[in-house]
């Protein structure tokens, strides 16, 4: 199962994780969208390639 890494950026805990913590989860897309829109979490690693946001995928750029 592919997991996405998130950081809790809101003032309150999210799914049992305290503000500032990172966690891996396979969130429902709508739940993920709502949480990101309201600033509760940010995505730190994408689900597809498991690389940092904005990070180049070296394998494909060669």
């Amino acid at each position: 199962m592919t997991m996405t890494t998130y950081k809790v950026t809101g003032a309150l805990a999210y799914l049992g994780h305290q503000p500032g913590e990172t966690f891996k989860a396979d969130l429902d897309p709508n739940q993920e969208r709502r949480a990101i829109e309201r600033g509760a979490i940010t995505k730190t690693r994408s689900k597809a390639s498991d690389k940092q946001e904005g990070e180049q995928d070296v394998r494909n750029s060669a």
Binding site: G10, A11, L12, Y14, Q31, R34, A35, R38, G39, A40
Partner: protein, 146 residues
């Protein structure tokens, strides 16, 4: 001879989780009602007492929150849900958020109704009593999740 104390739950640490966000420290009262309609099915030949059967079931959860506009707080969590009418998961634990046989966590898909942006008067805390309505049968989780 040992005497077992009667079961009396004093609410101290009810957990309230809305769409993943822990709003426990922003809530002060909770009411969960999953009553069914009472259908009168009294027929001739009875004993003189009305007979009832349960009809359609509905679930209503009322939570009274302290209103606040902090980033990621009560308003930022609940307002979008009240406007888009999306379905989301609500979890309420009688004795904290950790599921256990002695702490069955009420878990349900719900929609949010009855949002109060501001309510109160001078010198008192603004409360935001909201109503969630179940969209299906709830579960009582007794096993900690992943």
């Amino acid at each position: 001879m040992s005497v077992t104390a009667p079961e009396k739950l004093i609410l101290r640490d009810v957990s309230v989780n809305v769409d993943g966000t822990d709003l426990t420290t922003r809530a002060r009262s909770v009411t969960i009602d999953t009553s069914a309609d009472e259908i009168d099915v009294t027929a001739f030949g009875g004993s003189g007492w009305r007979e009832f059967e349960p009809g359609l079931q509905a679930g209503t959860i009322e939570v009274e929150f302290y209103q606040g506009f902090d980033a990621g707080g009560v308003h930022e969590t609940l307002w979008p849900l009240s406007q888009t009418h999306e379905e989301f998961v609500l979890k309420i634990g009688p004795k904290g958020a950790t599921e256990a046989v002695t702490n069955p966590v009420f878990t349900a898909n719900v929609k949010l109704f009855g949002y109060r942006y501001l309510q109160g008067e001078v010198g008192v805390a603004s409360m935001n009593p909201v109503t969630f309505r179940l969209t299906g049968a709830p579960t009582l989780d007794t096993t900690p999740g992943p």
